[in-house]
Amino acid sequence: MGKRHILGMGLLLAAAACAPTREFEQTVDPGVVHAFLEGKPSVLHPHLVVTLRQGQRNRVLNDMRIGLALFSLGQDTLAAEFFDNALTAIEAVYADNPEAEKARGLFVREVNKDFKGEPYERAMAYYYRGLLYMRAGDYENAHASFTSGVLQDTMAEQEHYQADFGLLILLEGWANHCHGKTAESNDLYADFQKHNADFPLPAEAHNTLILVETGWSPVKAHGKGKEAEERHALRFFPGGEAEIPRLSLPSEDGKTLDVTASAIEDVFFQASTRGGRTFDVILKGKAQFKEASGAIGDALLTAGVVTGTVAYTHDNQSAGYAALGMLMAGLVAKGVEAAVQDEADIRYWDNLPGTVFGHTAFLPKSVESIDVTFLNTDGTANGRTQTVPVVTAGACRLVWARSNPAVPFAPRAPFSAPEQVMSQPVAIPARK
Amino acid sequence: MNRHAIVKGSTVLVMFLSASACQHMEPAPICDMGAIASQRTLVSVPAAVPGGASPLQEMPLNSVSITDHRILNKVYVRNVTARRTPSGTVELYAQVINCTDHPLQTEARTQFYDAGQAPAEPVSAWKRLYLPPRTSNIYREFSLGTTSIHAYMVEMREGE
């Protein structure tokens, strides 16, 4: 191979090594930005600007985190719009998508693909869409959402973790209960009990479902090997401890019943029990290729330096050429090592809760709100109390509370842009 | 019988037996595509201007026209019949045969015409027909109108 060819290859590999432009944020016309922000809560304006600037690659991720924030702010119509957009993309089949094809290549990172989330994130998107249907009194579509969420959870490697998303199974049953389908709901409650035997099942007379979300979302990170970080490995870590909610439930005779809500679902458990992804095998292959290229490059560079030294000492022109060839080949191999992109995609939905607690009860129409007190994991009070409204929709009532804010602190989702972009402030462009 | 004659005779016998062993029985349906193609009627249909020549030489009324070259030599329409239902609408049946050893999906739709051969109603929606290997299935469609219906034309294509 001629030196020019070697250099050409080096150039190509170096070009391949750079992050594709779709990983960077795009400039959006201020008119488009302001039209998009119109009528949406100002607290989410920076997040919404990021959504526009990050485009299709992060559309699902941004729609889910903004949808959840809007849901917590009581903007149900807007929240439904965002979740519908996210779910439409999740349900779309990427069978011949060019960006997906690129992400399978050696020189493009997985993060280049359009985000569709891991199964636990997709399932949680269906969970919130289902709650939105419930708050609108549409228990049929709520049931359809929860069912679709359970189906997302069938990808687990080990059979006993497949379709074990107890929260969604319980809610399928509750949606049926509110729609007057007692037999169907009892079947689903029985299925739910296989996954969570401790939760007290809803009684036929119960009309209110209380859901309290505490803790922080699971965190995605690269794996750690014996010696160094294994960037091809996707790992999950718990986001932190989840507080325990204590509920004060008023009754018609003026008395109040204090009960501790029971845990329905641990979101970290769902994230971490999925097991290995099919794509992990491809990433591992990329990592092995990268490692081999690096080793070959090191060997060639060392040999080139040694040969060069010998050539210099003995004034041997042939050895000099040989040394040059080895150095160039070594550089190319090192270029390949640098260009191979083996790291796993660790973008994640960061405003999810860690644990979902729940309780069902009969609350008379006169009760319009309940008090939720948060306890530390050891049962001690931490002084935080919320008064949460009871929403009546159709035959049932729903209470939804959350210990931590659902509006994300940062306008950008973690790892949703290259490092140098993540730290940039998000400015809302002035109107033209 | 000399040795040479025995060898010759044996060779002929072996060849005959081999030839008979090679006889291959095709399961039904056996579709002779050449014969099917020769049956395709070429008709001059009424043109836009009375008396003028029609640019369309095929797609006669009261028949099934296969409009997709991908299934032209794969399916055979055995018959097409139509009858009046008790409510006065027209019900048509077309028996479609999959001549291949592979599963096929076709789609068909019907345009019903009045006595003047003008469309009597909107064309029906495409209806999918599932045809396992070497099987037949029935395409069935109802008209919306009753006494106004005098003719029909079915278009068939591969189902995607």
Binding site: Q26, V93, A100 | S87
Partner: protein, 225 residues
């Protein structure tokens, strides 16, 4: 630069490599800086699709436009061929809405898209063979009747009736589905079944039934598995 002159002494190898590296590094730097430019490419422009064909850009396993058009067309033609409903001396009064059309499937759907299409198409095709009662507009009718009778509005041109029109038959139905997944391959199959029934509102007899069923499979790209 005379390259051959550099080869005279092995000590010059370093210089050569250095020179080559500069030659190599400059375009690489240019390329790397080019990575951060605006992705100045056109998006997908809005296009009109044939709603009776599978959507070209996104397909799933749920109920799609071509299914809705196919099922409503089939049901409409089937209903008009039923003598109990479409060949009576006195046209029967029919209510078609989503009130008793239940979704028990895994597909999120606005059921009105099916029942509205069926009612509108059927009403246009029936041309008097059936009479359609707008029960979903009952509130609107009641309000108008009240203000006419209260004298707020005049009587209009249509003769007043003692009450709103009662229905003879009403549509009921159910959307159900059965899903199957292959965890290893990510392949998903959904069998969807949509049943339609016309119920006699006096006796409860089911005077007509129709069914539309289909099964769809999909497999996502390996990067999502």
């Amino acid at each position: 630069m005379d390259v051959h002159s550099l080869h005279r002494s092995p000590g010059n190898i370093k210089i050569l490599v250095g020179a080559r590296l500069v030659w190599f590094a400059i375009p690489v730097a240019v390329l790397l800086s080019g990575c951060q430019s605006v992705h100045n490419a056109a998006g997908t422009p809005t296009t009109y699709n044939d709603p009776s064909a599978p959507p070209p850009l996104a397909q799933g396993v749920g109920i799609e436009s071509q299914d809705i058009i196919g099922m409503t067309d089939q049901m409409m033609r089937d209903i008009l061929s039923n003598p109990r409903l479409a060949a009576q001396q006195k046209p029967p009064r029919v209510i078609i809405d989503s009130e008793y059309f239940v979704n028990e499937s895994a597909s999120r759907i606005n059921k009105n898209i099916i029942t509205d299409r069926l009612r509108v198409e059927l009403n246009r095709a029936a041309v008097g063979r059936m009479v359609f009662v707008g029960r979903h507009h009952a509130g609107m009718v009641e309000h108008e009747r009240k203000i006419k009778r209260d004298g707020v509005a005049d009587k209009g041109t249509v003769a007043p009736t003692a009450a709103q029109m009662g229905g003879d038959y009403r549509l009921g139905g159910r959307i159900t589905s059965q899903d199957a997944r292959a965890p290893k391959t990510g392949a998903a199959t959904r069998f969807s079944q949509i049943t339609f029934e016309m119920i006699d509102l006096e006796s409860g007899e089911i005077v007509w039934s129709g069914m539309y069923a289909f099964s769809k499979s999909q497999q996502d790209d390996v990067i999502y598995r």
